[in-house]
């Protein structure tokens, strides 16, 4: 990943918390949401409401339109990914992990280029196996700062 223009960004819970805690301006993330270049998977949004605080919690609350609720097709992908890669999604055991990859596949099939922002090695491994692009939050932050 060298440029961000083409991507539909899908951050995981840690990704959002890290980006905002480490100084990425929420206005920049708002802009990405408005441009339909960043989506928050609804299971991630639920986790953020539960665990995030301060700016990260406020950010997810003010971007309801960016929340992606899974369609039946995405639910079927979540079921398949959970069956096929359940052993890789063991670090947290949360629904957000397969939902994130399934959302990536959903948008990939619609011609978008999803980019999952995650530091979770299990999610990264499944992204690799499913050919969904991913990037650690630190690297994504550096790319954002560069652009």
């Amino acid at each position: 990943v060298t440029s961000l223009e083409e991507f539909l960004v899908l951050p995981d819970t840690n990704g959002v918390i890290e980006l905002i805690q480490k100084g990425v301006r929420t206005r920049l993330l708002d802009q990405l949401c408005d441009d339909n270049r960043l989506k928050i998977v609804d299971a991630v949004a639920r986790e953020l409401k539960q665990f995030a605080s301060g700016d990260a919690a406020k950010w997810v609350a003010r971007n309801p339109n960016a929340v992606f609720a899974p369609t039946q097709e995405a639910l079927d992908e979540i079921a398949r990914l959970s069956r096929q890669h359940g052993d890789l999604f063991t670090a947290t055991g949360k629904a957000a992990d397969p939902a994130l990859v399934a959302t990536g596949l959903f948008w990939q099939q619609r011609g978008r280029s999803p980019l999952v922002v995650t530091d979770d090695h299990g999610v990264q491994a499944v992204c690799f196996l499913e050919r969904v692009e991913f990037v650690p939050s630190k690297a994504y932050r550096a790319l954002l700062e560069r652009t």
Binding site: E18, R46, Q72, G86, G93, A95, D119
Partner: protein
């Protein structure tokens, strides 16, 4: 065939998974609904659960998530062909219960053991990101070598050495709490993680875990009285000494007359009350011909105060060493402790107690050095990020 809409979980897992954690379908619906309510989502009822279990309907993603959390399963476990196994745990229960009577544990206890599992995963991740894999200094004493009392005494001496528990240090303890804190801290220095939170005392007093490639870890029950917690701590430490993951105990039918629990009890008692310490505190005129329960109350009180261990342990050790004719009939001196998790402590203080110095210190290092995102600690502890910051920095 038209499939119902929703998430295609394995419907056959719901009833056995609920049974395993002691929940009926109505309880399951109520508890899952509480979780949904916290996310601002509509409740489910027993008919919904029954419909999911009979595959006539399927849950939404949020409903499936609350179902997995309530059943204490990882989310992907709902899609397995068979019920995923529980984590390998060795736990100490009340003397009146059959050992590892897991099927009859309450849901609350299952939930707390699941918390131990989450903490263990966090500890494993910390050891991995901070490259601490070789830093364990727990002595080893395979069970096959612990056939007689002399071997037990020798292993107890090595445990005292490993945790740097000298006679002078023990005799300087001024309270049960100080004794517990001192031994907990010393055990953490050997590379083990020690967690402490309240469970039902009649169900689980402590547990230990040491996965191959993972760190050793101990759970003690904060609802127990401090002397009981101290005994349990060393009992669980003895399990780690006897059964490290790199040296699994191979069952020899000729040598199985002494169970692992009995050995752990003996090692714990011998570690806490060695002969040398007894020699320092026993008066010359102790009534050795009597059972310990029949010794003068004042003498028992002074021994208890000097050693900071419980009367039953003193009684058993005196008997084993031939210094009393038996432990005698004693009422339980173990009162329920005030533990952690009660209202007078803040969340940060409570979690510091749960996690211990080693875990909080390592998590702080890992987050500060950007080796682990704070969100990962937050998810493992199921605490909001600002509270995790308070736990790690307070």
């Amino acid at each position: 065939v038209d499939e119902p809409p929703g998430l295609a979980i394995n419907p056959r897992l719901i009833v056995p998974a609920a049974d395993r954690v002691g929940l009926g379908l109505r309880d399951l619906a109520e508890r899952a609904s509480k979780r949904l309510h916290q996310s601002g989502l509509p409740a489910v009822d027993v008919d919904d659960i029954a419909a999911w279990a009979s595959a006539t309907r399927r849950p939404s993603l949020a409903e499936a998530e609350s179902l997995a959390e309530t059943l204490l399963l990882p989310f992907c476990g709902l899609f397995s062909s068979e019920l995923p196994p529980t984590s390998v745990l060795d736990f100490r229960t009340a003397p009146s219960r059959p050992h590892e009577d897991r099927a009859n544990l309450s849901y609350e206890t299952h939930a707390r053991l699941a918390r131990f599992d989450r903490f263990y995963r966090l500890a494993s991740e910390l050891v991995s990101v901070l490259a601490l894999g070789e830093a364990v200094t727990i002595p080893t004493a395979p069970r096959a070598d612990l056939r007689d009392s002399q071997a037990i005494e020798e292993s107890a001496r090595r445990i005292r050495e490993a945790i740097r528990l000298s006679d002078d240090r023990q005799l300087a303890w001024s309270s049960d709490d100080e004794a517990l804190a001192d031994v907990r801290s010393a055990i953490e220095e050997t590379g083990a993680f020690v967690f402490s939170f309240a469970l039902r005392v009649d169900e689980v007093r402590g547990a230990s875990r040491w996965d191959r490639g993972g760190p050793p870890a101990i759970l003690i029950n904060a609802a127990d009285a401090p002397p009981a917690r101290l005994f349990t701590l060393l009992h669980e430490f003895a399990h780690l000494v006897v059964s490290p993951p790199s040296r699994p105990f191979l069952c020899d039918p000729a040598r199985t007359e002494i169970g692992a629990e009995v050995i752990a009890n003996r090692l714990s008692a011998a570690t806490l009350v060695p002969m040398s310490v007894l020699n320092a505190v026993l008066p010359m005129d102790a009534p050795h011909a009597l059972p310990y329960g029949g010794w003068p109350r004042q003498l028992r009180a002074s021994l208890r105060k000097a050693l900071n261990v419980s009367h039953p342990v003193i009684g058993i050790r005196l008997t084993q060493l031939g210094l009393a004719s038996g432990p005698g009939s004693m009422k339980s001196f173990w009162r329920s402790g005030n533990g952690f998790g009660r209202g007078r402590l803040s969340t940060a203080e409570r979690y510091k107690g749960y996690l211990g110095h080693r875990t909080t210190g390592l998590a702080w290092q890992a987050v500060n050095r950007e080796l682990m995102p704070i969100g990962a600690v937050s998810r493992a502890l199921e605490l909001p990020v600002h509270q995790v910051e308070a736990v790690l920095t307070s």
